[in-house]
C-alpha cells in the first residue's frame, strides 16, 4: 500500500519535471533544454536535501515543528552575504566567482554547525532542545550584526543583499551544483543505509539505548549529515526556512508511519515536487521569477501556527 504512494509521488514528480522541461520549448531547443536540465537538477537536489534534513532533525529531536533553518543557518548565510558586500563593496563582491562563493558559504556554515553541535551537545548532555535554542539565540545575534551592517550600506549595495535574502531558484552554477550533488549523494547513501537504526533512534534516547543503538554517537553523526545537507542547499539556492516544515507535515500525514524507509523518500519527493511544480507555475504561467520562495515561506509559516494551535507539538 505504502509503496504505491511513493510510486504515485514519483509519477507526479516525473510529470512535473517533464512539464518543466518541455513546456513552451521553442527556438534553439538543445540550448534551452540544457539550461532547463541544470535548473531542474538544482531544484531536485535542493528539494531532496531540505526534505531529508528536516526529517532527520525532527527524528533526533523528537519534535515535529523544528526545521534546521531555525537554528541559525539562515541568519549565518545572510550575515555572510551582507559581510561580503559590506567588506568588499559592490565591485569586489561581484568579482568572486560563483563556485568560490558557494564553497565559502558552504564551508563556513558547515564549520559553524559542527562547532555548535559538538561543543554544545557535550555541555548539555545531549539535550537537543537546549542545543536548538542555543542555535536560535546565535541566529538572533547574527541577525543583529547583519542589521547593523545593512544600516551602513547605501541603497545600491543593499539591493544586492536584498536579492539574496530569499531563495533563488532561477539559476544555478553548474560546477557548484555538481559538487553539491556529489556530497548530497554521499549523505543520502549513509542515511538510506541507516534507515532502520533511525527508526529505533526516533523512540527516544533511553529506549534506543536499551535496544542497543549507540544513541549519542548516532545523534552526532546525524547532526553532521544535517549540517552538510543544509549548508550545501542553502549555499546553492538561499534560505528556505519553512519549506522543510511544510514538507515533513505533508509526508507524515500522507504516509502515517514512523518508518524512515517510507518517510525519507516521501519527504524528498514531496519537497522536490513542490519546488519543481511551483517553479513551473511561477516562472511559466505567472511570469514571476522570485516569488516562489516567499510564497513557500508564507504557507509554511501559516502551517506552523496551525500546528501550534492544534497542540500537535510534543
Amino acid at each position: 500500500m505504502a509503496d504505491r504512494r511513493i510510486l504515485g509521488l514519483s509519477c507526479l514528480l516525473a510529470a512535473a519535471a517533464a512539464l518543466f522541461l518541455f513546456w513552451g520549448l521553442r527556438g534553439p531547443v538543445a540550448y534551452i533544454l540544457e539550461l532547463r536540465l541544470v535548473k531542474l537538477a538544482g531544484l531536485l537536489s535542493v528539494g531532496a536535501a531540505v526534505g531529508v534534513a528536516t526529517v532527520l532533525l525532527q527524528t533526533i529531536s523528537r519534535n515535529r515543528i523544528l526545521t534546521p533553518a531555525f537554528m541559525g543557518f539562515d541568519a549565518l548565510f545572510l550575515l555572510l552575504q551582507t559581510g561580503l558586500v559590506a567588506g568588499l563593496g559592490i565591485a569586489g563582491s561581484s568579482q568572486i566567482p560563483a563556485l568560490a562563493g558557494f564553497l565559502l558559504d558552504a564551508a563556513v556554515m558547515m564549520g559553524a554547525a559542527l562547532v555548535l553541535f559538538t561543543s554544545v551537545l557535550r555541555r548539555t548532555r545531549h539535550d537537543i532542545q537546549l542545543m536548538v535554542l542555543t542555535g536560535v539565540v546565535l541566529g538572533l545575534m547574527f541577525r543583529t550584526i547583519t542589521a547593523f551592517l545593512q544600516r551602513l550600506m547605501d541603497p545600491s549595495e543593499f539591493s544586492i543583499v536584498q536579492a539574496r535574502m530569499f531563495a533563488q531558484f532561477g539559476s544555478f552554477d553548474r560546477e557548484a551544483l555538481a559538487m553539491a550533488l556529489g556530497l548530497m549523494m554521499l549523505a543520502f547513501w549513509w542515511v538510506w543505509s541507516n534507515h532502520a537504526v533511525l527508526d529505533v533512534a526516533a523512540l527516544g534516547r533511553d529506549t534506543a539505548r536499551s535496544l542497543g543503538v549507540g544513541h549519542d554517537r548516532l545523534q552526532l553523526k546525524v547532526l553532521c549529515i544535517i549540517a552538510a545537507l543544509v549548508s550545501v542547499s542553502t549555499a546553492l539556492a538561499g534560505p528556505v526556512a519553512f519549506l522543510g516544515l511544510l514538507v515533513t507535515s505533508l509526508a507524515h500525514s500522507l504516509m502515517r508511519t514512523h518508518r524512515h524507509a517510507l518517510l525519507l523518500p516521501a519527504a524528498a519527493l514531496i519537497s522536490a515536487l513542490i519546488l519543481v511544480a511551483g517553479q513551473t507555475v511561477f516562472e511559466r504561467i505567472l511570469m514571476l521569477q522570485s516569488t516562489l520562495a516567499v510564497v513557500i515561506e508564507f504557507c509554511g509559516g501559516l502551517l506552523f501556527m496551525f500546528l501550534l494551535a492544534k497542540g500537535k507539538i510534543r
Partner: protein
C-alpha cells in the same frame, strides 16, 4: 546601585561628538542648550527604556511562567512592527501618537495570541515556549519583510528594527515617559503579579482575579513594547537578561525586586549606549547592536552554564 546609576547618567551627559565639559555648563549658554535639547533627553530616554523594558520582561516571565520569555521572544515586538508598517503604508500622514496606538493594538493582539498558543504547550517542556515564540516572531517578521519588499521599505524597516537613541532630541521622546509611568503603575500590582506567577489554579485559590491580572499584564507589556518600538526601535534581550540576573540574587518576590530590575535594566542599557557612542567615536554603534551581542552572550551563558553543574 543608585549611586552607580547617577554616575552613569552623569557620564552619559558629557559623552558625545560635541565636546561638553562640566565647567562649561555654568558659563556657556550654548552648552546649556546642548544639554537641554540633546543630552538630557537622550539620557532620560535610555533610562526610561531600559527600566520599562526590563519591567515588561519580568511581568511577561511571571505571566507565561517561563524564565526564557520576554517581549522579543513572544512576538510582541514583531507584532508592533507589523502594526507600525501597516499604519505607515495605509495612513502615512498619521501623527506619532496615532502610529503608537496602531502599534500598541497590534502588539496587544500578537501577545494575546501567543499567550493563548503557549497554553497548549505542556509545562514539562519549558524550552519549547521561547522556541515557539521565536518562530512565531519569525513568521510575523516574514510577513513584514514580504510587505516591505513589495513596497521597497526593507532597508527602512531594518533601520527601525535596530533600536538606537541617536535621534532622540527634546520633543521626540516624551512618549517614553508613558512607558516609565506604566512601569511605575505595575509596581502597585507587584503582589498580584507575584501570585499570578504561581499559576492559574493557585492564584484562583488564593482569591486573585486571575483574568484581570493577566489582562493588565498583557496590556502593560504590549503598551511598553509599542512605545519603545515607535520611539527608539527594537531592543531585544533586555527584558530577558535583566530579570534573570536579578532573580538569581533576589528571588521572585516582585514587590522587592521590581525596583532593582528597573534600575539594573536602566543601568545596563545606559552602559551599552555609552559604549556604543565611544567604540567608534565620533560615529555611533546603535545600542540595539551592542546590547544584542552582549545580551545574546549572557543568555547563552545562562542556558549552558546552568546545565553544566545542574
Amino acid at each position: 546601585m543608585g549611586l552607580l546609576l547617577c554616575l552613569l547618567a552623569a557620564v552619559s551627559l558629557f559623552v558625545g561628538v560635541n565636546r561638553l565639559s562640566p565647567g562649561a555648563v555654568l558659563s556657556d549658554p550654548q552648552a546649556l542648550q546642548l544639554l537641554a535639547v540633546s543630552r538630557i533627553p537622550r539620557t532620560a530616554a535610555v533610562l526610561l527604556t531600559g527600566a520599562s523594558m526590563a519591567v515588561a520582561g519580568v511581568i511577561m516571565q511571571l505571566l507565561v511562567r517561563n524564565k526564557f520569555v520576554e517581549p522579543g521572544t513572544t512576538g510582541t515586538n514583531e507584532a508592533a512592527m507589523l502594526g507600525l508598517l501597516a499604519v505607515t503604508l495605509l495612513a502615512p500622514s498619521m501623527s506619532l501618537f496615532g502610529k503608537m496606538l496602531a502599534a500598541s493594538a497590534a502588539a496587544l493582539a500578537g501577545t494575546a495570541l501567543f499567550i493563548l498558543l503557549a497554553r497548549r504547550i505542556p509545562p514539562e517542556r519549558p524550552l519549547l515556549i521561547p522556541l515557539s515564540g521565536l518562530v512565531y516572531g519569525g513568521v510575523l517578521t516574514a510577513c513584514a519583510t514580504f510587505v516591505a519588499i513589495q513596497t521597497d521599505l526593507l532597508q527602512y524597516l531594518g533601520i527601525w528594527m535596530s533600536g538606537e537613541f541617536s535621534g532622540v532630541l527634546a520633543g521626540r521622546y516624551e512618549l517614553l515617559w508613558l512607558a516609565g509611568g506604566l512601569a511605575v503603575l505595575s509596581y502597585f500590582a507587584a503582589d498580584q503579579f507575584t501570585i499570578a506567577g504561581l499559576g492559574r489554579n493557585v492564584s484562583l485559590n488564593l482569591g486573585l482575579r486571575y483574568g484581570q491580572v493577566l489582562g493588565f499584564g498583557i496590556v502593560t507589556v504590549s503598551l511598553v513594547s509599542a512605545l519603545v518600538i515607535v520611539t527608539v526601535g527594537m531592543l531585544p534581550f533586555i527584558g530577558l537578561v535583566v530579570p534573570n540576573l536579578v532573580s538569581r540574587i533576589m528571588g521572585d518576590n516582585l514587590r522587592a525586586s521590581l525596583p532593582v530590575v528597573a534600575g539594573t535594566g536602566a543601568g545596563l542599557l545606559l552602559l551599552c549606549d555609552i559604549l556604543g557612542r565611544l567604540l567608534r567615536y565620533p560615529y555611533e554603534i546603535p545600542v540595539g547592536t551592542v546590547f544584542g551581542i552582549f545580551g545574546a552572550a549572557v543568555f547563552l551563558y545562562m542556558l549552558l552554564g546552568r546545565r553544566a553543574h545542574g
